[in-house]
């Protein structure tokens, strides 16, 4: 580039191999390469756990905790809510955890983590960092009071929610993170309005932002570089931090186990799962959609939405879901190429 070149004339450069912003390790600088690509990578969660084939949560947890462990220089304690992750990682006498790990109850992971962090301060070991983690049920429903309290006190905890959009451990029941129209064991695909009810549910990332805590981000197993970067960023900050990771569940969603990454990617590209980050109550970044797809592309491979494709009513539901995705895209400016500098 030479001086005097207009910005419009600069060719925007995007590294990508597939339909997202994903960058292959060989294309990025050493510092930006995936933790998983390093020969001396940490390993918080080893193999041998009992997760289902294609489990998005196991993948998300391994990347998130490895990145956190590395960022903390190995000084990491994890607190786990009851749920799939807790059950499949500790089939005693085997445990998949290579880090100190405690499971107390379904709804109190954030509070137990507060206690661990307080103990580290009082014991004069502030270098030891604390991560709390749970599924969407343990986070957005039963653990929400404890979570909001931890946020509000700005306790020095990174809370990670692995969102697979229902209570999978107990047999796929609806949670407040279940999308409208989705079939679960407690929102069956029968009756005049099959599946989960429209107009229900909540966005805990948004609520976390509203607490004004230092860092909130959403991430997905379709973009592990981004996930790791956010974990590292979160670990560089003290105070309450929240990371919400979208993790497809083949069992609960009725999808093929080899489609986990593809579905996570489609959820982002259709606008159903906005990937963004915020600091101190202000949204500071978003992952733009490169190749926008209709929600149908995301819904179709999932049996939990199969009923939408057989009736006229179902078609209307798809339009409603498309409208939700469109609202997300507009709200977070996910498909706005003007002024794009990413």
């Amino acid at each position: 580039m030479t001086n005097g070149t207009t910005s419009a004339a600069i060719q925007k450069l995007h590294f990508y191999q597939k339909g997202t912003f994903t960058v292959g390790n060989r294309l990025v600088s050493e510092a930006d390469r995936s933790v998983q690509a390093s020969i001396d990578r940490s390993n918080a969660l080893t193999c041998g756990h009992r997760a289902c084939q294609g489990c998005g949560e196991a993948l998300g947890a391994r990347y998130a905790l490895d990145a956190a462990l590395r960022a903390a220089g190995g000084n990491l304690i994890a607190v786990n809510a009851t749920g799939c992750l807790e059950v499949f990682t500790t089939p005693y006498p085997e445990t998949s955890w290579q880090i100190p790990w405690i499971h107390s109850l379904f709804g109190n992971a954030a509070a137990v983590a507060t206690g661990v962090a307080a103990a580290m301060r009082v014991k004069g070991r502030p270098e030891i960092r604390v991560v709390a983690q749970g599924g969407d049920g343990g986070t957005t429903d039963i653990g929400f009071g404890c979570l909001s309290g931890m946020f509000e006190r700005n306790d020095d905890v990174l809370y990670i929610c692995y969102d697979n959009e229902a209570y999978m451990n107990t047999g796929v029941q609806r949670s407040s993170a279940t999308p409208p129209a989705a079939r679960t064991a407690t929102t069956p695909a029968v009756g005049p309005q099959p599946g989960n009810v429209f107009g229900t549910g909540k966005s805990v990332p948004k609520i976390a932002v509203a607490h004004g805590i230092p860092f909130v981000a959403t991430a997905t197993v379709a973009d592990l570089h981004d996930l790791e970067r956010k974990v590292v960023k979160a670990m560089g900050i003290h105070g309450a931090r929240y990371l919400h990771i979208h993790v497809p569940c083949p069992l609960g969603w009725g999808s093929a186990s080899q489609d986990t990454i593809r579905l996570a990617q489609l959820a982002v590209e259709c606008g159903m799962f906005p990937v963004f980050e915020a600091e101190h109550g202000v949204v500071t970044g978003r992952r733009k959609i490169r190749r926008r797809v209709p929600v149908e592309d995301y819904l179709k491979p999932q049996r939990r939405f199969a009923h939408l494709f057989t009736t006229e009513e179902g078609r209307k539901c798809i339009s409603q879901l498309q409208a939700m995705a469109d609202r997300n895209i507009a709200e977070y400016r996910l498909f706005d190429w003007e002024g794009d500098v990413e």
């Binding site: 304690i77 100190p100 499971h103 107390s104 709804g107 661990v116 307080a118 103990a119 009082v122 014991k123």
Partner: protein
Amino acid sequence: MLKQIEGSHAMAEGIALCRPEVICAYPITPQTHIVERLGEMVRTGELKNCEFINVESEFTALSVAIGASAAGARAYTATASQGLLFMAEAVYNAAGLGLPVVMTIGNRAIGAPINIWNDHSDAMSMSDAGWMQLFAETNQEAVDLHIQAFRLAEELSMPTMVCVDGFILTHAVERVDVPEQAEVDDYLPAYEPVQVLDPNDPISIGAMVGPDAFTEVRFLQHYKQTLALRLISEFAGEFKKQFGRDSGGLLRTYKIDDAEVLVVAMGSVNGTIKDTIDEMRADGIRIGLVTLVAFRPFPVEALRKVLVGPKHVVVIEKSLAVGMGGQLALHVDLALRNVAGAPQVHSVVAGLGGRPITRPSLHRLFRRALVQPWEGTHFLDLNEEVIAKELHYVRKVRRSGPTAENLLRRLRTGAQKPAAD
């Protein structure tokens, strides 16, 4: 140091002497003054090296204590009544994980009807959760029991509740000898956890346990409580050596040697009972008292030793197992099971929701035990007239309205028809 001091503040000062490292506070009457004073001491620097955390619920209060304790810190919290029920899941969890949290219960009734005054329903509701439970008779004992509780809890890696009567103890200003720091330091060693979350030696805590080992885990909890039976006496003995006074232990006796009636009770009501016994003895009635300090572990052997001999045992308790009767009485019955020459056990429920237990009422009750002993559970000072009227009314009218409000209206206005019509 001798002080004229409110019970809650004395307890707070005693707890501070135990050097707690993490204190979680959530307001609920009547324990609030304890954590308020502790919070003040942390702010002023009187209590150093301590994190004081204001949390958003009792469930969180105990959960924070669980995390702190598992990470190697000495953890304390306090609650009462609805608060204890709200944290119930964590109460069982702390015990199951074997974390030596110490918690004060400012004993208070459980609603509905909502009631802030003293009885023992809260502590009794959690008696099987796996915590040790010690009941204080006086504010001096309340202070002393906390010091012993930290030692017991940490020795056995088992959480401990110190139960103090709400208002009667927590809000009473009286003379208390608050120990010196050096004495407490001599008595209470630093917390050395049996399990700790440490990146240098990573362990997993809280894995799922199936039918293959669950019974054994529970058995070991139970076994540890049987060890506590010995340790509670032993640590009370050492406490006496260090501090020069009797506090704690499994139980205490008062004028039992020649007694033909023995009273069994827990908590502050023992003072009133002792006064009544003194008056009755002046009238030549041979009556004595067994004050239970430990409800968990329940001291079956120790109780059996002191209860065999007299003809009658009157168990006075501030709790009711609805549909069954007296809970403590049932425990005392159990202690006397298959014992030759065992006394008759007479169950009394008294002082529910803060109703005063008075000497005149106790006089009548104890004399009746001698001349007209009763079966089943007796409710002390029950207003039978108002109950008869309410029962008559609800038999006549289907939509009779809320019971509590009906009774209050009858008591206040004497109205025959309690409902709005």
